[in-house]
């Protein structure tokens, strides 16, 4: 086990720079998830850590050793790939044992380690099979077995679940989490699935265009997103964003949503800005049949909207509506299914709203 430290990590391919200086300190035993849209440099960063790509600039440490120039095999890491990369001409046993065989470990040690890993992953019955005779989930576990037997300081995962169907993905995700709780190995896990990121991570690293946008615990990035980008990336359905004109009045200020609907904010948030972006999660935007809402509590505002489409999800109904010229997504009680065109009451708890500068940064009041 080991800590991991990236300092000013840069990757250039020819003249195109794809990773622009990543700084990240990972504690021993921590589970870090790198998340971000396609092409933002997650895999490249991971491959630099693995030693599969050279580091253009910056310092990479595993434990307290600088590993920039070490071969992958000398970095004491193990990696699980998106398509598993199992060798089709070898049995499951040989696939799992491959690294140990290559390292010429003693036979009985290999035997013990493979058996133990297979047991941990429920693969004991399949050791003699070929990968082609396994299901997708089993193949995925073989790939993990291959990583486990190396007993590395750092586990690296590159979208290990993206080839599984939704149900299996949930199962294997839980298994990975359990595995980490057992082994406590430092882990860097790449995904573009924010649910995986939220459920697995000790800390999430949100990347964008080769830069780190925010680092924080899952609750941190969910409740205090550092930018519009992070706020929009984490959480489903996506947060509603409205660019609203600001009006200052001494210590108090307001954002005007529409006629008769204003959001009170502190003037510190507004500052000298003409406009402020308000972000409201769909879960914080309550949709009710017009005229039936409970009495407003402090901080709540209510306005009317016209339903565009309502989608029942069971526990709640997701309602896309138009209000004051904004298209918004809110949640209604699961038993309510308003028709398109119907007028509904929308209640927002403004204390839960997020505020951003129009150029993207979070505003703090």
């Amino acid at each position: 086990m080991a800590s991991l430290s990236l300092q000013g990590l840069v990757k250039r391919y020819g003249h195109t720079q794809v990773v622009h200086g990543i700084d990240l300190e990972v504690a021993d035993g921590e589970f870090i998830v790198l998340v971000g849209p396609s092409g933002c440099g997650k895999s490249t960063t991971l491959r630099m850590i693995a030693g599969l790509e050279s580091v253009t600039a910056g310092t990479l440490r595993i434990g307290d050793k600088v590993v920039n120039r070490l071969e992958p095999k000398d970095r004491d890491i193990a990696m699980v790939f998106q398509n598993y990369a199992l060798y089709p001409h070898m049995s499951v046993f040989k696939n799992i044992a491959f690294g140990l065989l290559a390292a010429k470990r003693p036979k009985d040690e290999i035997e013990t380690k493979v058996k133990r890993a297979a047991e941990m992953l429920g693969l004991t019955a399949y050791l003699d099979r070929r990968p082609s005779e396994l299901s997708g989930g089993q193949r995925q576990r073989v790939a993990m077995g291959r990583a486990i037997v190396r007993d590395p300081s750092v586990f690296l995962f590159d979208e290990p679940l993206s080839n599984l169907d939704a149900q299996l993905r949930g199962q294997v995700r839980t298994e990975i989490k359990r595995l980490h709780q057992t082994l406590r190995t430092t882990t860097i896990y790449v995904t573009h699935d924010q649910v995986e990121a939220m459920t697995l991570a000790d800390r999430i690293v949100i990347m964008r265009d080769g830069r780190i946008e925010q680092v924080g615990t899952p609750l941190d990035v969910f409740h205090t997103p550092a930018s519009i980008f992070v706020a929009g990336f984490i959480g489903t359905p996506t947060m509603n964003f409205m660019t609203l004109p600001a009006a200052r009045d001494g210590v108090a200020a307001t954002l005007k949503l529409g006629e008769g609907a204003v959001i009170p904010v502190s003037s510190a948030i507004v500052g000298a800005r003409e406009r402020v972006v308000a972000g409201i999660r769909p879960d914080d935007l309550r949709v009710e049949t017009a005229g039936t809402g409970a009495t407003l509590r402090p901080g709540e505002v209510r306005f009317e909207g016209t339903v565009i489409i309502a989608e029942p999800l069971g526990t709640a109904t997701q309602v896309t509506l138009r209000a004051h010229g904004h298209e918004l997504v809110g949640m209604a009680d699961g038993r309510l299914l308003p028709a398109s065109g119907e007028t509904v009451a929308v209640t927002v708890d403004t204390k839960l709203a997020h505020f951003f500068d129009p150029d993207g940064a979070r505003l703090r009041g």
């Binding site: 491959r47 693995a50 030693g51 599969l52 071969e71 992958p72 095999k73 890491i77 193990a78 990696m79 790939f81 998106q82 398509n83 598993y84 990369a85 199992l86 060798y87 089709p88 001409h89 491959f98 690294g99 290559a102 390292a103 070929r130 990968p131 082609s132 396994l134 299901s135 997708g136 193949r139 291959r146 190396r150 080839n163």
Partner: protein, 289 residues
């Protein structure tokens, strides 16, 4: 249409019905049968003639009236046919092994490593495909003569030990091998050579089999170059040796045919051995299902 069930050989239905439903089948089968006849007739005639006595050779009948093994006995006892056969097997096999090894190695390097001049090297190799063999015979000969390679196995083999076509074919197949296999092996600590040999090569067995068949057959039937580079009868390959049965005035066709019949056997063996691997598409089996 009723899909695959409407086969010509569906046991439950008269074939007339199947044909009526799918008139395209008639055309397809007719063409296949004609093709088969065109291909098989010379082969059948070759085998038939090899069992004929000399006086019967110029008769058109496919089956000999008085079948005889004399021709086979003759070529093995009175000519160096056995030796030529061995020469052909040895040179063709060695060239095939060399081509599989080197072409795959070069193709892999061109497909999976980035280095300065890679495109140039690839195009240079590719451009050799555009030069016809006939144009190369003279330079090869000069080379063989100056290095003292005339009348030797090496002289017969050296021009074919690596081929531009094979490099091209293997490069294309290796490009289809996902990098993750190579990365995984690299993390497992294999040397680059072992990654190629133990991980990448098994993933392209279909291509290796195809290249193996082409190369072996090409060298087995090669005539012009072995004819030029050898004049010691003991070093003839089969095609050259068989051709030597043709005299200036007269050709002993029954002997040529007996020799040619035996010469086809190894090609059959090679084909049957390799084609299993061609059909088995291995490349994607270890990836996502």
């Amino acid at each position: 249409m009723s899909g695959p069930a409407a086969s010509l050989f569906d046991a439950d239905r008269p074939w007339r019905v199947a044909l009526a439903e799918r008139p395209g089948l008639v055309v397809a089968w007719t063409l296949l049968v004609i093709g088969a006849i065109v291909m098989m007739t010379p082969l059948a005639y070759m085998i038939g003639t090899s069992f004929k006595a000399p006086h019967e050779v110029y008769e058109i009948n496919l089956l000999p009236h008085e079948p005889t093994f004399e021709n086979y006995i003759f070529i093995f006892e009175k000519t160096r046919f056995g030796l030529w056969f061995v020469n052909s097997v040895v040179t063709s096999a060695l060239v095939t092994i060399s081509v599989l090894f080197f072409d795959a190695l070069i193709g892999y390097t061109l497909a999976k490593f980035e280095f300065r001049g890679r495109e140039f090297v690839f195009i240079a190799i590719l451009s050799t495909l555009m030069i016809p063999t006939e144009m190369l015979i003279v330079p090869w000969y000069v080379m063989a003569k100056n290095f003292g390679w005339l009348n030797s196995y090496w002289g017969i083999m050296f021009p074919g030990m690596m081929t531009g076509f094979g490099v091209f074919l293997m490069r294309q197949f290796f490009m289809g091998v996902p990098d993750d296999y190579i990365h995984a092996a690299r993390i497992d600590g294999l040397s680059e050579f072992k990654i190629w040999w133990k991980v990448a090569m098994p993933l392209v067995t279909p291509a290796l089999s195809a290249l193996g068949i082409f190369t072996f057959l090409g060298n087995w039937t090669a005539f012009l170059w072995p004819l030029i580079v050898t004049n010691d009868r003991a070093l003839y390959t089969l095609p050259v040796g068989l051709a030597s049965f043709s005299g200036e005035n007269l050709t002993d066709w029954e002997l040529v045919m007996a020799g040619a019949t035996i010469a086809t056997l190894p090609t059959l063996v090679v084909f049957i051995v390799f084609q299993r691997y061609i059909i088995r598409g291995v490349v994607l089996a270890g990836l996502k299902g």
